[in-house]
Symmetry: C2
Subunit: 307 residues, 2 copies
């Protein structure tokens, strides 16, 4: 089975939306990526760091889905990364209320020996030099996927650019693509980001879907329009996990197959937003996923004939 190395945060999230407020619940980029990728027939491992306050129950949630947790360092007497945020009524914008880095400040990821030969690495949003240190531990990865955000463009742009040279696929949102490239048009922005390293540029547009750029080719995966978005937290990471997980399972990293990966990512993300935290992505069944993929087909496929 194809190995997938996932690096990122395992965290406590506390979320407020117009629908309610949670206590501290399981969150973090690596958590969502892992739960999403574990929908596929692959061998995923999470590399992360938590404190002693991180419940064993949360680790069990991961390992019960056959996610290897050997690379999750538990810091004695340490506290787990904690994020709290509040969504506005439109559910597209949010305020961060609290960010406590805690053990994340000294995160020095160590890829377990048996995963160093993995074909695919999915780097969740982290300090770019930390992401680079993971790439350097891998023997000969076929595909390195990196997620990042505006925060690192603001305070660590040079480090990010150095890391990007070793990256095959970058996933960022539309505003971040504009910031990183200095171009408003996403087509032009993608070309400039190509030239920084990544051959493939995935631009996430939230409720407006996601675009994949490669050379002069483009592909567009819509987000599934939903009657109710309950909690958008983790949608982008679920998307990335579905993308990486599908590619790992199929063992085919062609542009054509990345189209399918983008649809899988978008499909899985549509479940995550249906309830608070990881609840829905933990419980979704293969049948539900299949039905929703059919909805994506109906949503996008047309039959204009050309002669």
């Amino acid at each position: 089975m194809s190995k997938l190395v996932i690096v990122g945060t395992c965290a406590f999230d506390q979320i407020e939306t117009p629908f309610g407020k949670t206590d501290k619940i399981l969150g973090g980029a690596a958590t969502y990526i892992g739960l999403s990728a574990s929908q596929f027939d692959i061998d995923p491992a999470i590399v992360s760091i938590v404190g002693e306050d991180f419940p064993q129950e949360y680790i069990n949630k991961l390992t019960s889905r056959d996610i290897n947790a050997e690379g999750i360092e538990v810091v004695k007497d340490g506290k787990t990364f904690y994020w709290s945020g509040k969504y506005h009524n439109d559910m597209n914008t949010r305020d961060t209320l609290v960010t406590e880095l805690n053990t994340l400040e000294s995160f020095n990821p160590v890829v377990p020996e048996s995963y160093k030969d993995a074909d695919i690495v999915m780097l969740g949003n982290l300090q770019p030099t930390v992401q680079l240190s993971v790439i350097e531990q891998m023997t000969s990865p076929k595909l390195v996927i990196l997620d990042t955000m505006n925060f690192w463009m603001d305070i660590a742009l040079d480090e990010l650019k150095t890391t990007l040279k070793k990256v095959d696929v970058i996933t960022i949102n539309d505003e971040e693509a504009r910031q990183l490239s200095g171009e408003y048009s996403l087509v032009t922005a993608a070309k400039i980001i190509h030239s920084m390293g990544p051959q493939y540029v995935v631009i996430k547009k939230g409720e407006h879907g996601a675009l994949l750029f490669h050379d002069n080719e483009m592909f567009y995966a819509p987000a599934l329009p939903l009657a109710e978005v309950f909690d958008p937290t983790g949608a982008g990471d679920t998307f990335a996990g579905g993308f990486a997980g599908f590619l790992a399972q199929s063992g085919n990293i062609s542009f054509e197959n990345m189209k399918n990966a983008l649809i899988y990512g978008s499909c899985l993300a549509s479940f995550t937003v249906e309830s608070f935290g990881t609840e829905r992505i933990e419980s979704v069944s293969k049948d539900e996923i299949k039905k929703r993929l059919q909805q994506f087909k109906q949503l996008t496929q047309f039959d204009i004939e050309f002669n």
Copy 2:
């Protein structure tokens, strides 16, 4: 050949974008709808009103594309509707600088006798009671398509609701769908708008594409991502003209065929934004359209197999 009745403004537009500024040029909803619809093998007629200042050359632009102009009333000593606007740097928002209704204030549309039996009516954005008066002149239209905007929701909501009872397809943008329905989710908004009359709800999202809703079905047509958007004026009307023109040509108003119509609309709109005013939609060739439709296929079609 299938007849299509188009009602709306023929106008002078004066446009300023970050790329430059025009003099008064040919514009108006009916103009863009007509030029777009005339790409198909149909018999379209425009019903509109202009002043004596409207150049014969502009009328010729329409008739040379086999658009019947009998229903364009020319008011002696009257002045043509004039709109001037300035786009912001993001090209998604604009300020209206001048609106002079002129002859439009006394527009009393008269559908030419030989077009009263047309199967499809495309009502461009106008006062809702004026739109209704056109529907009432038709013998037995199979499909009435109506475009409108927030302005009428603000000042003539009751009239709009009365007109909507006679409408099969409404095209509005996302903010207008939210305003008309009072719902943020577009899925829920479409359901409420259905209940006002239109069986089909098309929600235009500009650079984010367009959604078609019917009962519990949805279809999504992306906008083609472009390296450069030169002038968005008329994109929505070009979209509507492509949608209506394709349906008229195929004589098939099923939901499945509306998917193709949505793609055609989006495809033709992608040309309009490539230069100022009607320049590009006037000059585009059948071959260019065909090539771009292929791009839409590549942009959206994927081949996940289900077993």
